[in-house]
């Protein structure tokens, strides 16, 4: 117990599960919604489409949904990083296509082994990210302009690299395996158990450290509830995959990247610096944070993720063509990040918003495909959902400001 006076005006949660629920409800009423609106949105969308077409929630379709999400979602993770800085990167779509094209041409036309071609594709992303990032940070040109120039340049680059045929078909098992490999159902269950166990152990260890340092800890019932929810969710996912083709490698890659970047953002010094630069660049600068290096690193990471997404997309399609990485790639990636809860103004968001936002966007597109809806309506609905998400975010931001949160 510290000797510090506790401010008598403080509203603190009652101990126990009841307190946690009451605290949760208070935070919701104050606009601290967290991922709640998105999760509710996903639930609503799924119910609507399931009612309209009973095949929507079938394991086969849900697995397809995950496969559809993996490429764009990976790009979205990179977009989240850039948005956290308060910046934007318009080149991620075109870059994803170009990186995939480089990989495809090296592998198919020059006999480079699959795994090396994949690395070359990723390196293309990294290099371009470095160039764009240096242009933004050293010449102080707005990222909007530099990445817009990139969008144009890499679209042209894609056509150039693909050459006269305009398409390259992929047959290399290492490449096509990325989006088309499935692990046996047992692996899905094992992974579910492992992840739940790892989460539990980590939380318990952290709790023990806090108790040793005499810091306040939430009640154990909170931890138990969280672990239970996680276990249920992972088991549901494992059950769905097991009932179809098994655990997709693409899902492991995508979700693995989401988790890795979430840890980067929340648990490392670099991640903390990204949030600081996005929240108050001047304060970060005065605190001695190397602002320009942080921004450069983020652009490099985002472009690498764009390349990764492009490679997964090519793997899924078994080809790279002139429309790879086309316009809706960019729009979906940004929309997913925003719908998932990352603010366009910087400083707020998480890697999980790429996952949740992608679920929303690709669920809508998948559902509409099942219903045979034409693409004009698909575009309009997706646009509407993005607007809705941004509006909910803006309204909850006003609520947060009224209650004293950023």
């Amino acid at each position: 117990m510290t000797a510090r006076d506790v401010d008598p005006r403080l509203i603190s949660d009652q101990p126990g599960l009841a307190g946690m629920v009451a605290g949760f409800r208070r935070r919701v009423s104050q606009g601290e919604l967290g991922p709640l609106p998105v999760i509710i949105g996903i639930a609503i969308i799924w119910v609507i489409f399931q009612v309209a077409n009973h095949n929507f929630l079938a394991p086969g379709n849900l697995t397809n949904l995950v496969l559809q999400m993996a490429a764009g979602g990976t790009i979205s993770v990179g977009v989240v990083l850039v948005l956290l800085l308060g910046e934007i990167d318009l080149s991620v779509g075109a870059l994803s296509g170009l990186a995939a094209a480089v990989m495809a041409v090296l592998n198919v036309k020059h006999g480079v082994p699959g795994w090396l071609a994949i690395l070359a594709g990723l390196a293309t992303g990294t290099l371009i990210g470095l160039v764009q990032g240096l242009w933004v940070t050293r010449f102080r040109i707005p990222a909007f302009v530099v990445t817009l120039a990139g969008l144009l340049a890499w679209t042209g680059g894609l056509i150039f690299v693909l050459g006269e045929t305009g398409t390259v078909n992929l047959a290399d098992k290492n490449i096509t395996g990325l989006a088309n490999t499935f692990f046996i159902p047992l692996d899905a269950w094992l992974l579910a158990v492992l992840v739940t166990a790892a989460y539990t152990v980590e939380r318990l260890w952290d709790r023990r450290q806090r108790v040793a340092a005499r810091l306040p800890v939430p009640p154990l019932s909170v931890l138990v509830t969280r672990v239970a929810l996680l276990a249920v969710a992972l088991c549901a996912v494992a059950a769905v995959f097991s009932a179809d083709r098994g655990l997709p490698l693409a899902a492991v890659i995508f979700v693995g990247l989401v988790v890795a970047f979430d840890l980067l953002i929340k648990r490392t010094r670099f991640g903390r610096h990204i949030l600081a630069v996005g929240g108050n660049t001047e304060a970060a600068h005065r605190a001695g944070i190397p602002v320009e290096n942080v921004r450069l690193a983020v652009f490099v990471l985002a472009s690498t993720m764009a390349a990764a997404g492009g490679i997964i997309a090519a793997s899924r399609l078994f080809a790279v063509n002139q429309s790879s990485g086309g316009s809706d790639t960019l729009l979906n990636a940004i929309a997913a990040a925003v719908i998932g809860g990352t603010s366009l103004f910087g400083g707020r968001g998480s890697a999980y918003s790429a996952l949740l936002g992608s679920l929303v966007i690709y669920s809508i597109q998948n559902g509409m495909d099942l219903l045979g809806v034409s693409s004009d309506k698909k575009f309009m609905v997706t646009g509407l959902v993005l607007l809705l998400a941004a509006t909910v975010d803006a309204l909850s931001r006003r609520g947060r400001e009224a209650h004293g949160r950023a």
């Binding site: 510290t2 903390r272 949160r405």
Partner: protein
């Protein structure tokens, strides 16, 4: 008792475009003393502080720390020397919590490159306790704190690096009565620890409460240095405004009211 001041600037010039913000300004901050830097708006106080803290580089002039000339080419260099600054706009990141702000730029790392949240939180509690700062929780977002609490967090942050010099730009400007008293007693505690404390303040009452020395800037030049206990509010005000002390009582009264506002 050191005869050379801990921090000293000599002959500093700084120009912004067509405006000569500082001309041949000398400044000294001895250890174990509170030096108040006063002057009207536009006198150059904030510019001088930003030069000391490394944000601006002077066009000309010497910068001496512990008697030796040093190169301060960025805020980090000043921090490394042991000069901590609390800015008027507090330089806090609203989207982060108190712990994150306290350790901004010098986050503690646990093994395997992760942030050591536990140790940072504990130290945050300790430093806030030692400064008698009341905050609901160190995990509150800074955006949710009152102006006085934010000021306290900013000052506490400057304490974490164990600095030798602390610069405070208008520390009591946004504070209520109790918090002003707290900050002033905090300033005295810093002096007792042997730090050199520099405060910019418009509030001459606060200045006379804590300062040992008063340096006056006017229109970019240093026009006077007073020992606080040997001068009066009148003298300081006339130095600030340029009116002669004693002459034209009426004008001086008006100026004093303006200075105190």
């Amino acid at each position: 008792m050191a005869s050379t001041p801990l921090l000293e600037l000599r002959g500093v010039n700084k120009r912004f475009g067509a405006v000569q913000a500082l001309s041949e300004v000398d400044f000294a901050a001895p250890a174990g003393e509170v030096t108040a830097l006063v002057g009207d708006n536009g006198a150059g106080k904030s510019t001088l502080i930003k030069i000391i803290s490394g944000i601006y580089a002077p066009d000309q002039g010497e910068y001496l720390f512990e008697g030796k000339p040093v190169q301060v080419n960025g805020p980090q260099a000043a921090v490394d020397l042991g000069i901590a600054t609390v800015y008027q706009d507090l330089a806090l990141a609203d989207n982060l919590d108190v712990v994150a702000n306290l350790f901004l730029g010098r986050e503690l790392i646990a093994p395997v490159r992760r942030l050591d949240e536990t140790v940072m939180e504990r130290e945050a509690n300790q430093v806030l306790d030692s400064l008698a700062v009341r905050i609901p929780s160190v995990r509150t977002q800074v955006a949710g704190l009152s102006g006085g609490q934010r000021q306290s967090v900013a000052i506490a942050r400057s304490m974490l690096g164990e600095p030798k010099v602390v610069l405070l730009d208008e520390p009591t400007a946004a504070l209520g009565v109790a918090q002003t008293a707290q900050v002033l007693s905090l300033i005295r505690r810093l002096r007792e620890r042997g730090l050199a404390v520099v405060i910019i303040s418009h509030n001459l009452a606060d200045v006379f409460e804590v300062a040992d020395r008063i340096e006056v800037l006017r229109l970019g030049r240093r026009v006077a240095v007073f020992a606080a206990r040997q001068t009066s509010s009148d003298e300081v005000v006339s130095a600030i405004t340029g009116a002669k002390a004693g002459e034209e009582r009426l004008a001086t009264d008006i100026n004093m009211e303006e200075a105190e506002r």
